[in-house]
């Protein structure tokens, strides 16, 4: 089945082949919406169209969480409960989901356990962030298998800013609220999730959601000027902050196979559409540092929406995934029309915000080789704030070590250049260095200065970036030599401490 604008209203045996309305569950009813501007955000739809003003706009860029709502989706037998930022999620992206907002939680006078606990612990002061916080914790309440640890609660809240309370009573409320556990959920998602192409709009202006890869390939080739939308955690800001008038949007959320994960013994293949939350445990299984980078990646809301492919394809010089995966030797798979090709991930990034991606071409998947028995790996994210912050520097190192001697080396950095990049000179010098002989580290440490000439910006100065880049290599070498993490890390990876 191929999505094609001209045939969008073509009737099929079971009605139109192409759906022309998004469908979702809201306030206990199945709802269809067929007329909306493609760039309409979910928050504007709620607050302006529906007059549902419980969700607030605090920042309009997915950083404060005041607009958090919950999307419930069925995936086969599983039901997922995802907290998302409604301010940068487009209305079309809730197709196939059940939308749960703060107004849905209480039943009559009976508050939801999270709400009850938030009142009991004095968890609200000005109250403006509170609906978003309650929704984040409600999602945790739905999904956590057992009463969550405080660390897990804080992770869940990383994307919810509160300026009044200092968070202590909020974390306490999450502890008190407990979990849904074996109780049936009040929200079960939309029955018979659609598996047909979606096209709302016309040739000049549309929100499209192809149902399979062929349909996506053909439709994108026909509309290379359209914007590919994955999670929307970046594209959403083009609209709310850049005020771009996006008229043609192809959403990837329904493309069959694009969100597949193949976790094998030698490699991990992540479809471009795999959201960061689903990717996290698989990456964490490769190495705890990778799990920690993912834990600190955006926030629960951003990880629930943002995708692996989106993070790589937007080519941010500070995207956290790219340097980690480059160090691991990942390859990228792209498709244009019927043509597919693969290339080493580092070759994809050509220049600042310029990638090796042609018109009509899209990222299909990334394949990450797993670590071998001789491989040592470290990844570090350094940012002004530990959680929910964009990196000043991200460094990832993979060294093959035999008898304390470094053989092969892959070192990749984010934040040090216009693109995430390997430190080729330093790699050359570090090969042959011995972990048990600090004198042999010097060449690699010094050569980093040849590899990068970073910029100064509001996150960090060039001098700081250069110094940290060097110090992170030093730290990696110390750890690979055997320094215990509690001696080298201010916040060791969660798995390493537990």
């Amino acid at each position: 089945m191929t999505l094609d604008v001209d045939t969008s209203r073509r009737p099929g045996p079971d009605g139109p082949i192409v759906r022309s309305a998004i469908r979702f569950r809201f306030r206990g009813r199945d709802v269809e919406v067929s007329a909306f501007a493609p760039r309409t955000t979910l928050l504007d739809w709620l607050r302006i169209e529906q007059g549902a003003v419980g969700a607030k706009e605090g920042c309009g860029e997915g950083d404060c969480g005041a607009c958090t709502v919950m999307l419930v989706r069925r995936n086969g037998g599983d039901v997922s409960y995802a907290p998302v930022n409604a301010c940068i999620l487009l209305l079309g992206q809730i197709d196939g989901a059940e939308l749960v907002t703060i107004e849905d939680l209480a039943t009559g006078d009976a508050l939801h356990p999270v709400q009850e606990a938030m009142v009991a612990t004095h968890g609200s002061q000005c109250g403006f962030c509170t609906p978003g916080i309650v929704m984040s914790l409600a999602a945790l309440h739905e999904t956590a298998p057992e009463p969550p640890a405080r660390a897990a609660i804080r992770d869940q809240l990383a994307g919810n800013l509160c300026r009044c309370t200092g968070y202590k009573p909020i974390v306490e409320a999450a502890v008190q609220a407990g979990v849904r556990g074996a109780q049936p959920s009040r929200w079960t998602g939309l029955a018979d999730a659609p598996r047909r192409d979606l096209l709302v709009g016309d040739d000049a202006q549309f929100f499209a959601a192809p149902a399979d890869m062929d349909s996506l390939a053909a439709f994108y080739l026909a509309h290379p000027d359209a914007t590919l939308l994955a999670g929307g955690t970046d594209v959403g800001l083009w609209i709310t902050k850049g005020l771009k008038d996006l008229r043609k949007i192809i959403w990837l959320g329904h493309v069959a196979g694009l969100a597949d994960i193949a976790d094998g013994a030698a490699s991990l293949r992540l479809g471009a559409g795999v959201d960061l939350a689903r990717a996290m445990p698989h990456l964490g299984a490769i190495h705890p540092d990778l799990g920690e980078v993912m834990r600190r990646f955006g926030s629960a809301q951003v990880r629930a929406s943002g995708t692996v492919g989106g993070n790589l394809a937007n080519g941010s010089p500070i995207g956290d995934l790219a340097p980690c995966l480059i160090a691991l030797g990942a390859t990228l798979e792209l498709r244009r029309g019927a043509q597919t090709r693969t290339l080493p991930l580092e070759d994809f990034f050509l220049d600042y915000r310029k990638q090796d991606r042609q018109a009509g071409e899209f990222v299909v998947a990334v394949t990450i080789p797993k670590l071998g028995a001789r491989d040592r790996f470290c990844a570090f994210k350094v940012s002004k704030r530990l959680d929910e912050d964009i990196s000043a520097v991200l460094a990832a190192f993979k060294f093959e070590v035999v008898d304390q001697r470094i053989g092969a080396a892959r070192m990749a950095y984010g934040g040090m250049a216009g693109v995430p990049a390997r430190a080729r000179s330093a790699e050359g010098f570090i090969i042959g260095a011995r972990l048990d002989d600090e004198k042999t580290w010097r060449g690699g440490l010094t050569a980093l200065g040849l590899d990068f000439t970073p910029l100064s910006d509001q996150r960090a100065s060039a001098a700081y970036r250069s110094l940290v880049a060097r110090n992170l290599l030093l730290k990696a070498l110390m750890e690979m030599r055997g320094a215990p993490l509690q001696d080298t890390r201010i916040a060791p990876p969660r798995e390493a401490v537990s």
Binding site: S124, C126, V382, L386, K475, I490
Partner: protein
């Protein structure tokens, strides 16, 4: 014994940890903020057009494309103002619209009024504004070089600081830079203006100062104050950022409503809010201190240079308060405190929780650390030695500290409960091995003066009605921004009438009900409004008691109010029935209460008198870990002991202390305002400006109230709590200094605020070199 001194068990509502009155609404998304008010039909929306240049002459403004954009109804600029182009709180130096020149990047030049907010924002991008740029003065150094201030220099002191410094056995001096802070109230600036008949205007404003918004709107529209009513039910956070800074947003909405005749709303985009509205003042402190071998200070000289931005705004009071707190809790025998209010071509800085006090206090705490490091004594011992004490109790501005016993006792207790000495020893042992991850600890005190230092602002009004069914309407001039003021004042009124708290209906602050109010600021909200409300409720209760006394033939002082009933002799009547009886007896059941703070007589010109009714005290002990390879820092434990006198509501007060601490910690660690050399703020959204998140707050975070009573006759002997806890964040900064100090024990630790990873790492480098 008056009721004010009643023991807790004689009080039914006051001093109880009752929940915030809106808590159940907050958690259901049912609390209405200005942007949530259902818009009247035909409501229009504004978007401001901002200067892209920090300083320059406006050559031309072409708004034709803006006017022609879809959905645009009107475009407003200076020429459209019927009254004065001035939204400043005091000195007529903040125009609503830039007219001939721009004085900071982000200054509003025009505003679009359109059918939707989206249309207005998009249209605003179409303006063609030509500005001849002038090299802006962005930094403190540039401002000093240019030699321009927004207000005259000011100083006070005692004795001869220079002579005493020269005579001191030991001397230190240094320079310390202190960054500003964005309020980041979660609800941005917003106002909805609804025109009525004959020029009436109702403005819903998210403001800490509805009276000020009323004045400013009337001034801009050129109409009497009486035509303008301002209402504020609640703010989604204020922190000082909606004291004067709400004026412009409200005035823009009001002007649009006047011009179009339709309801008009302006809700600033977050990035615009960052650029348009003022922040905490950045300061530089140049200090010299003289002291003896034990670290006892004999002389202190400090020059406080404040980066005020492009206009005066509230900088008189802000910088004065920095000066008032330059000694923090310490006696400084010979002292000179000098200040400059520097003008830069950046957004005008404004009130922010602590109002300059935190900056003055932080500089002094850095000095205490420097003395400790130079003498080799424990910083806590140096601090304790210098505290005010009987006979050593005069502040640099001449006010006598009467309550000298509280802070030493409080510190002593915290020292015990935090296990300070043992932890310091353990940390010293840890750091002795020169580890990669260093640890540090600090215990720092806070002594914060309570009252507006502008004496006339220390007044408040309240309006209380008792209806015939016994329900009670409460209104006062204070505003609710999350701090729990409304519930505290309601507790006071419920206590006065002896009724359950939910009989007292809390209502929105409204300039038509209680006029001529002061801003809810300076931590004064419950002190002032609690008193005014009690005076109003007390008058009604007195009249109701007379009705009951007459009915029962007893004296009115034998009538008591409790549990929703009124008792006297062997008789009782429900409060409700007595209310009806009073009405039938033609007794007034409504009262306007008024209160003014006693004892204040500070004279700024003469530099004499008493600026504060009392001091609020507290101390915090923080422990940190610092990564010497990256500069990253984690706070691992915090203990706070804080003095709120007899708390009106311990749950609310603890919330203020916890939240204040975290806000102060953010100010001094991750929150960094970065301006580029063109005067553009580069950190103008939460993606780049980092306030603390949940994981920045340690699991081990212990907060307790110090058992104390206000010696002044404040409302139920409580003390103000809004601002003082913010300054407990200083303990984190000093703990970081402590962690680094051991790298080079004989040198001062070169760390400025905020202590970002970058500043920490460069301090490490400097100490290692």
């Amino acid at each position: 014994m008056t009721r004010n001194d009643a023991p807790d068990d004689m009080l039914a509502t006051v001093r109880k940890p009752v929940a915030h009155d809106s808590a159940r609404l907050h958690v259901q998304g049912g609390a209405t903020y200005v942007d949530d008010i259902r818009e009247p039909a035909g409501t229009l929306h504004l978007a401001p057009g901002l200067s892209t240049v920090a300083r320059g002459k406006i050559l031309s403004v072409d708004l034709s494309a803006v006017r022609a954009a879809p959905g645009v109804v009107a475009v407003l600029a200076a020429a459209d103002i019927p009254g004065k182009n001035d939204v400043a709180p005091a000195f007529a130096d903040d125009p609503l619209f830039a007219e001939h020149e721009v004085i900071f990047h982000g200054q509003v030049i025009f505003a679009v009024v359109a059918q939707t907010r989206d249309a207005a924002r998009r249209a605003a991008t179409l303006a063609r504004v030509e500005i001849e740029p002038v090299e802006p003065a962005v930094t403190i150094d540039a401002a000093i070089a240019r030699g321009v201030t927004v207000l005259p220099d000011y100083d006070f002191g005692r004795g001869d600081a220079s002579a005493a410094l020269a005579a001191a056995s030991n001397r230190l001096s240094g320079r310390f830079e202190i960054g500003g802070q964005e309020h980041f109230y979660l609800e941005g600036q917003v106002a909805l203006a609804i025109p009525g008949e004959a020029g009436d205007l109702l403005v819903h404003s998210s403001t800490q100062d509805p009276t000020e918004v009323q004045h400013v709107v009337a001034r801009v529209l050129g109409c009497p104050d009486s035509h303008v009513t301002v209402e504020t039910r609640r703010m989604g956070g204020g922190f000082g950022g909606k004291e004067s800074q709400a004026n412009q947003t409200a005035a823009l909405a009001a002007l649009a409503a006047r011009v179009t005749g339709r309801p008009c709303k302006l809700r600033l985009d977050r990035d615009d809010d960052f650029m348009i509205t003022g922040k905490r003042h950045e300061f530089r402190a140049d200090w010299s201190v003289g002291y003896d071998a034990d670290g006892l200070v004999s002389a202190y000289d400090v020059q406080l240079d404040a980066r005020c931005g492009c206009s005066a705004d509230l900088s008189t009071g802000v910088v004065d308060r920095a000066m008032f707190h330059a000694a923090n809790a310490y006696y400084l025998p010979d002292v000179a405190v000098r200040s400059r209010r520097l003008r830069t071509d950046t957004v005008s800085n404004t009130a922010f929780r602590g109002f300059g006090g935190p900056q003055g206090m932080l500089a002094m705490e850095r000095v205490m650390d420097a003395i400790a490091h130079a003498t080799g004594r424990d910083p806590l011992d140096v601090r304790k030695a210098n505290l005010y004490a009987p006979g050593r109790d005069l502040t640099p501005y001449g006010m006598k500290v009467e309550e000298t016993d509280t802070l030493p006792a409080l510190i002593e207790r915290l020292e015990q409960t935090s296990d300070y000495r043992a932890r310091r020893a353990a940390i010293a042992a840890h750091n002795a091995g020169q580890p990669l991850i260093r640890r540090g600890i600090a215990l720092t005190p806070v002594q914060f003066g309570i009252s507006f230092t502008l004496v006339h602002m220390n007044q408040a009004g309240a309006l209380v009605h008792v209806y015939q069914d016994g329900s009670i309407h409460l209104n006062h001039g204070g505003t609710e921004m999350g701090q729990g003021l409304f519930v505290k004042v309601a507790q006071v009124v419920a206590e006065e009438f002896g009724v359950p708290l939910d009989w007292v209906r809390i209502t929105a602050t409204n300039t038509a009900k209680v006029p001529n109010t002061s801003p809810t600021a300076a931590s004064s909200g419950s002190d002032l409004n609690g008193m005014a409300a009690r005076i109003a409720a007390g008058a009604i209760r007195g009249r109701m008691a007379q009705v009951a006394a007459d009915m029962w033939g007893i004296a009115p002082d034998g009538v008591t109010f409790r549990e929703g009933r009124v008792f006297g002799g062997n008789e009782s009547i429900s409060f409700r029935d007595l209310a009806r009886r009073a009405r039938e007896s033609r007794v007034q059941l409504s009262e306007a209460g008024f209160y003014k703070t006693p004892r204040l007589d500070w004279d700024r010109a003469k530099k004499t008198g008493r600026p504060f009714l009392y001091f609020a005290y507290g101390a915090a002990c923080s422990e940190v870990a610092v990564d010497t390879l990256t500069g990253e820092m984690r706070v691992t434990r915090v203990d706070i002991l804080h003095d709120v006198g007899r708390s009106l509501n311990p749950a609310i007060d603890i919330g203020q202390i916890e939240g204040g601490f975290v806000q102060g910690m953010g100010w001094l660690t991750t929150e960094e305002l970065v301006y580029d050399d063109k005067g553009r703020l580069r950190t103008h959204a939460p993606s780049t400006y980092k306030i603390p998140v949940a994981s920045d707050v340690p699991d081990d975070f212990r907060v307790d109230l110090f058992d104390n009573v206000n010696r002044e006759d404040t409302i139920y002997r409580s003390k103000a709590v809004g601002e003082p806890p913010l300054m407990h964040g200083i303990s984190v900064f000093c703990a970081i200094v402590d962690a680094l100090h051991g790298l080079a024990p004989d040198r001062q630790t070169p760390l400025d605020a905020p202590a970002t990873p970058e500043r920490i790492l460069f301090a490490v480098q400097a100490l290692k070199s």
